[in-house]
């Protein structure tokens, strides 16, 4: 792929005479690769719209689709941060649960002001990331294993502090801030996800830190030999993902007005499915925020449409599980081909 065209980098200064692969001219194959998922999304909408015009093709339905998935959007964007630096974080679901539950317990049960409860929840997310980073970077354990463990520990902590119950009654201030109002007919929650997307897009495209994260994810040894503090970048990414996951928990508490001990886990797989699917589009081959947004809404639209058609709820698992495996397989395909070519040559 040409190095990286963010979707919103419009014109380029003419640099020399560009041969085949610069980004001003987009070959049809590249265009299909970059915008294939967007087109697929449009097709999905058209098909369900044709099948159920009166229920699917309504502004209320689209408002629900866009607004209801803010939690998943934020969580998925968060995990792309750590994936970009080449690590896994499987504790994002646990962090989400912990964050929502801390808000519910501190605010609804102990009467803390909502602002303080949110601050504690976000700090907890940072602490989870820091602990993950310690095991990954100080003890040298693979991030996949570390976060598989810490995620489970977090689930245990959530059950513990909540006595395994669902807690409701979180301050209306938070609920209002998340779903109380809407803009252009879409709940304000959607715009939190959008804002985070723009923030990450700027980070990845226009900051030295974003470049360094990409370098670390793609070539740790090269990065180290180029003077990049690889440990600090990886650690920082784990902490950032923790904080963003906790922010997703804040949105969850605001959306539902409370917290339960299990739902965080159910977000884990959809987040990974959408992140990997997102890496096949817009900037193919790279975890990128706009692709992530497209992927989340593509999956959610499909599931919503099938639900409207009356398909059972198990379709969710089929859809998300299948999407994860297919997305990863798709993203491996060009690399496998290159490897084969390299061996043949």
């Amino acid at each position: 792929m040409s190095s990286d065209a963010g979707p919103a980098t419009p014109e380029r200064a003419p640099v020399q005479e560009p041969p085949a692969r610069t980004r001003g001219r987009l070959s049809p194959a590249k265009a299909i690769e970059r915008f294939g998922l967007v087109a697929a999304w449009a097709v999905v909408i058209a098909v369900f719209g044709a099948l159920r015009p009166d229920t699917f093709m309504t502004s209320a339905n689209f408002s629900t689709i866009l607004g209801s998935q803010a939690v998943l959007v934020v969580l998925t964007l968060g995990v792309t941060v750590v994936l970009t630096t080449g690590d896994y974080d499987l504790s994002i679901g646990g962090t989400l649960s912990l964050s929502a539950m801390l808000i519910a317990v501190l605010n609804a049960k102990h009467g803390w002001p909502i602002g303080a409860a949110v601050a504690v929840a976000l700090a907890a997310g940072a602490a989870v990331g820091a602990v993950n980073g310690m095991f990954v970077l100080v003890f040298g354990v693979d991030s996949f294993i570390v976060t598989l463990g810490t995620g489970t520990v977090l689930q245990g902590i959530v059950l513990w502090i909540s006595n395994s119950t669902t807690i409701s009654g979180v301050s209306n201030t938070l609920v209002d801030a998340v779903v109380g109002s809407s803009l252009l007919g879409v709940p304000v929650a959607f715009y939190y996800g959008l804002a985070l997307c723009v923030l990450l897009w700027y980070l990845f495209e226009y900051t030295t830190l974003g470049r360094r994260m990409l370098f670390v994810g793609r070539g740790r040894r090269v990065s180290r030999l180029s003077g990049i503090d690889v440990r600090r970048v990886r650690w920082g990414a784990l902490v950032a993902t923790g904080v963003i996951s906790a922010f997703a928990g804040v949105l969850y508490a605001g959306t539902t007005g409370g917290a339960d001990s299990t739902s965080g886990a159910s977000f884990l797989l959809p987040a990974f499915a959408a992140a990997f699917l997102g890496a096949t589009t817009i900037v193919p081959g790279r975890f990128n925020p706009w692709g992530t947004i497209v992927a989340v809404y593509f999956l959610v639209t499909g599931i919503t449409g099938l639900t409207i058609l009356g398909v059972q709820s198990y379709v969710q698992q089929l859809f998300y599980g299948g999407a994860l495996v297919l997305a990863v397989a798709l993203s491996q395909y060009p690399r496998r081909k290159e490897l084969r070519d390299a061996e043949a040559g």
Partner: protein
């Protein structure tokens, strides 16, 4: 030693192999008699590894024939077919699994092949103990993990395993191929390895011993075949050949003395000074490089010459002191980022994993170390980065000069030029190079040399680690030869030729120790 008229154990005739347009082997003959230790010698690129890979069935030869015990064998061999012919290979990396036990490593090929159901560990361990005992490898516990063995014990184990596999296949006169098994071994106890090899031969087997070390050849081999530029330079009886004759045969008689115009080196100030540097192999090395000077560092494989640049850059653990422009730094706490901070650039040898990120664009690769200077009003400016990359591509003759291309799309030589551009754009005070033209075509090589010379002309001090003597002769003002981690010789121009360097390196293991103190004096005394 059998006479030439008797039936050879293995006979290769007229073997040819080309890669693309380049001939790696042109008509190589090799004849190994039953019961001999046959040395295979030659410089890097002489065709040794291509020959071995053809025997292992990894490369398909273009022409040539192979006879084993008098029987014609059809070429190419299928991969792995060598086992049926009674051949076994022990490569330099030994192919042992450190986390598994000695017994498990011994029977690994049996486990990998036919499934035999239950493994009776008691029986296997006892059998392993017998095998170890038979070869006199006392002190190795069958159930100990290989990771706990010494380097020497591991090498012995790998050889014993190969021999046992041959024995299991029941070949009367097997051939064991040892591909530089000794390069990374300490000298202490090497006698045991030699004794093991000799006992094999006494049992009727033969050994093909690939090495760079002429001392080992003298000690162990009956006859040697020398390869040079893909051809047989000759097959000799070791007892009737002097070391000098061997060296001459290895490097050939083409004494192409390059006139190397020496820059006014002595006038330059000392830019890089290292004292008592130690690493995994490097052992107490002192050196200094002046502004505008190119200091070569070379040696046989395993001598530590290729580790030195890494240690000085802080990218591999080391101890000692490095002084850059008069400011001293403790290597124990020196990192690549520190090194870059004081004006040191390092071009590592391993392009794939150390020097370039293949799956990122040329722009990203060359601007890695200078990102901060490409900030615009709204953060990083891709336009500026690409313009800079295009300008560097122009200056360093990267073709095609399209900075948006993925690094992987460039040829090896052009990738290397881009890597050089990345590190030279900042006008480093000190440039460390590790085999800068490895795997690079002739044209790119000249362009890279030109870029390095241009850097020295503007005062950069260069240290170049390399095993390519032609490269050293073309670039260097002085060359240090390392053996067993220490500097044993300092060669100085003018008129430093490829052959001089090759000769000194090939005999460096004999000079180790004797010349050590003298060499150190030569190194630390400023040249004038």
């Amino acid at each position: 030693m059998a006479s030439a008229s008797s039936r050879a154990l293995l006979e290769v005739t007229g073997l040819c192999k080309s890669f693309g347009g380049a001939r790696a082997l042109s008509g190589v003959d090799l004849r190994i008699e039953p019961g001999e230790v046959h040395g295979l010698l030659g410089q890097n690129g002489s065709g040794k590894s291509t020959l071995l890979k053809a025997l292992a069935g990894f490369h398909e030869p273009d022409e040539g024939s192979l006879r084993v015990r008098g029987e014609e064998v059809a070429l190419p061999l299928a991969p792995g077919a060598f086992r049926e012919l009674g051949l076994a290979f022990v490569h330099q990396d030994l192919a042992l699994v450190p986390a598994l036990s000695v017994t498990e490593n011994l029977i690994v090929s049996r486990l990998a092949g036919r499934g035999r159901g239950r493994i009776r560990w008691g029986v296997e361990n006892r059998r392993a103990a017998e095998v170890l005992d038979r070869y006199g490898l006392t002190g190795i516990e069958p159930d100990a993990p290989v990771a706990r063995l010494t380097q020497m014990q591991r090498a012995l184990l790998a050889i014993v395993r190969a021999v046992e596999e041959l024995r299991a296949d029941d070949h009367a006169a097997p051939l064991l191929v040892l591909d530089e098994p000794t390069a990374f071994l300490p000298r202490t106890g090497i006698e045991r390895l030699f004794a093991l090899v000799r006992s094999l031969v006494a049992d009727g087997g033969s050994v093909l011993f690939v090495t760079h070390d002429l001392d080992e050849v003298r000690e162990l081999c009956d006859r040697v075949t020398v390869l040079r530029d893909g051809r047989c330079a000759g097959t000799l009886d070791v007892a009737r050949t002097t070391t000098d004759e061997l060296v001459e045969l290895i490097i050939g008689h083409r004494l192409e003395r390059r006139a190397h115009t020496r820059a006014d080196v002595a006038a330059g100030a000392v830019r890089l000074r290292a004292r008592a540097v130690r690493g995994a192999v490097v052992d107490d090395v002192d050196l200094e490089v002046r502004a505008g000077e190119v200091l070569g560092v070379t040696g046989l494989i395993g001598s530590g010459f290729d580790e030195l640049a890494h240690v000085l850059f802080g990218s591999r653990p080391g101890r000692g002191e490095v002084e850059i422009e008069g400011r001293s730094h403790d290597l124990a706490a020196f990192t690549p980022s520190d090194a870059i901070g004081v004006g040191v650039s390092f071009v590592p040898a391993d392009r794939g994993s150390d020097a370039a990120i293949a799956r990122l664009s040329v722009t990203d690769n060359v601007t890695m170390t200078t990102l901060a200077s490409h900030r615009g009003r709204l953060g990083l400016s891709r336009e500026r980065m690409e313009a800079k990359a295009a300008e560097l591509g122009e200056r360093f003759a990267v073709t095609p000069n399209d900075p948006a291309l993925e690094m992987a799309a460039l040829s090896g030589g052009n990738q290397q030029k881009a890597v050089l551009a990345k590190w030279l754009q900042v006008d480093p005070r000190v440039l460390l190079l590790d085999q800068p033209t490895q795997g690079v075509d002739v044209r790119a090589r000249e362009q890279i040399f030109a870029a390095i010379r241009a850097a020295t002309a503007s005062g950069t001090a260069v240290l170049c680690a390399s095993a390519d003597y032609d490269e050293l002769a073309s670039l260097c003002d002085r060359v240090l030869v390392l053996a067993r981690g220490r500097v044993v010789l300092a060669l100085e121009g003018p008129g430093l030729s490829k052959d001089d360097i090759a000769e000194k390196v090939l005999t460096s293991t004999s000079t180790a120790g004797v010349l050590r103190s003298a060499a150190r004096d030569a190194v630390t005394t400023p040249t004038n």
